[in-house]
Amino acid sequence: MQRAIPFEIFRYVVILSLVAISLVPTLWMISMAFKPIAEWSAAGADLTWWPRNPTLDNFRFIFGQSSTDLIVALERTAGRPIFASLLTATFGTLIAMTAGTAAAYGLSRFGQGGNLPLALIQLRLFPPMAVMIPVMIMWSFLGLIDNWFGLSLIYGIVTLPFAFWLMKTFFDDMPREIEDAALVEGCTRWRVFVRITLPMMRPALASSALFVFILNWSDYLIALLLTTRDWATIPVYMASLSSSMTGQLYGAKAALGVIAAVPPIIMGIAIQKHLVRGLTFGALKE
């Protein structure tokens, strides 16, 4: 379709300005992360857009190296929270994907579990805050507060709807001829699922797992309620990077923010074409 040149100019002006707005907050944080303390401390109100003397001090600081300019040393370094975030998000993804994939296959092929689609949409609708009291009581009864497994388990449940719906749409799309052929060959249903269907679905499984991982990695509220110290995740730990004595440790927080923000952005771009499917529960497949 031919469009007039003024329209093309209009289009680029609008899009490029929105691209700029999209990027500026993230770039600002990245810039802060590389600024030495003199450039971000509360006293130096004169903030610049680019670091004048770029440094890795902020990153060294959160990993425990005491800074020459900053008198405070960290009681806890960022290593443990990063590990906690990685472990709980991974294990939560494993739980959601295992239960979700199995259930999706059961429904897609054998029509079992017809109540699940609706139940899982409802699960997604409810604010986590509205079911956290019983969860906190149950978890403390089971000794799962501030415990990696406790956090992973709730992550697995919260993201189960996404894993289930994504995999269901992928199974629904998959042609059944190959499975039928294997059945005629004398394979059992279980063998067909494990040896033929799952290997064929590897790309779909990978995309869904990444999608679920991003969701788990992005959590703040649940970790805030269920962890206190040992298994505090990155966002929970981040809040501890300020105190009445030191004020906001802007640079250190920005450095940690960069570490937290980069993985989901890369993963998100990698699975871009499945984002719509995941977010709309398969109502729209791109």
Binding site: Q112, L116, V131, I133, S218, I265
Partner: protein, 312 residues
């Protein structure tokens, strides 16, 4: 012998696999069913029970003995009269009423600009999606920095004034709410854009071509052909944002902590504060249950709508 060997696979196909399939299907759905039961049934029963008492974790008795502190429906009566709760609810709806339309219109406008091909489309598309992939808590921290009185937002505004602008965004009740909404719009307009663009692309071309041949203007085609065909997608996109804004917590809580005062206290922030700071868990259970009941009723309608939408 030959006869038997030809019949055998047929018998297997028609009879046995269906039965084993059904059994396997049950086994496969079992873990998900158990997880849903685990998170739905028991917690809700527990919530009903606790909400009828005056129990809090500070009372020194385990939750199952909460009936010793039985108060009946007192928590629910308190809830009706709790102005802070209604204020938080009203504020949540206010944020929703501002953010959802803004995100929708921006997303729709962007989708229109992206629907046909142009140079650099793929890269610009990916770049525009970045905000929604930023961890919300980190986004909260970014905007916390941006809105400091010496921060870049004020620097930008200073370009247009003679004196340097030093607005304390996050400590002014009205401005704090605006800042929080701006952050939400920044982060979630891409989601609207993503869904609406996918919906717009899936609108079949035939009718539009016919309309072009008949000389219909672009606006006319857009409002009479494209938008009506996107109806179910638009409903889904709006529903997702309405649901998510109802839960709004991470970004907002990190930016303002619900403050100054209660100026940005939404329903999730309010529940969080009563849970963590005031520790009146029985009352929280009552609030949560009330919300769950209302949401269940609303969601049944919404889901029916969405399911009908999927067919078209």
């Amino acid at each position: 012998m030959t006869k038997v060997s030809t019949i055998e696979p047929v018998a297997e196909l028609t009879d046995a696999p269906v039965k084993t399939g059904a059994r396997l299907g049950l086994w496969l759905t079992l873990p998900a069913q158990l997880l849903v039961l685990f998170i739905a049934l028991f917690p809700i029963l527990m919530q009903v029970y606790i909400s009828l008492t005056d129990w809090s974790p500070l009372d020194g008795i385990p939750w199952w003995r909460a009936h010793e502190l039985w108060t009946g429906l007192l928590n629910y009566a308190d809830l009706m009269a709790d102005s802070r709760f209604w204020g938080a609810l009203w504020r949540t709806f206010f944020v929703m009423a501002v953010c959802v339309p803004v995100q929708f219109l921006l997303g729709l406008g962007l989708a229109v600009l992206f629907v046909d091909d142009f140079r650099g489309k793929r890269v610009l598309y990916s770049t525009l999606l970045v905000p929604m992939m930023v961890v919300p808590a980190v986004a909260g921290y970014m905007f916390f920095m941006l809105f400091q009185s010496g921060g870049p937002v004020n620097d930008l505004l200073s370009l247009f004034t003679s004196d340097p602008v030093r607005i304390a965004w996050l400590s002014d009740p009205d401005l704090a709410l605006i800042a929080v909404m701006l952050a939400d719009i920044w982060q979630w307009t891409p989601l609207m854009f993503l869904i609406l663009l996918a919906g717009m692309i899936s609108v079949p071309q035939d009718q539009q071509m016919a309309a072009i041949l008949l000389g219909a203007s672009w606006w006319r085609r857009f409002f009479t052909i494209v938008l009506p065909r996107m109806k179910s997608i638009i409903i889904i996109a709006l529903a997702i944002r309405v649901i998510e804004i109802f839960k709004i917590f991470d970004t907002l809580f990190i930016m303002t902590g619900g403050g100054p005062g209660v100026a940005t206290e939404t329903i999730s922030v309010y529940i969080y504060k009563v849970t963590q700071q005031e520790l009146i868990w029985s009352y929280v259970a009552a609030i949560a249950l009330a919300i769950l009941i209302v949401l269940s009723v609303v969601s049944v309608f919404a889901i029916k709508r969405m399911q009908r939408g999927q067919g078209t």
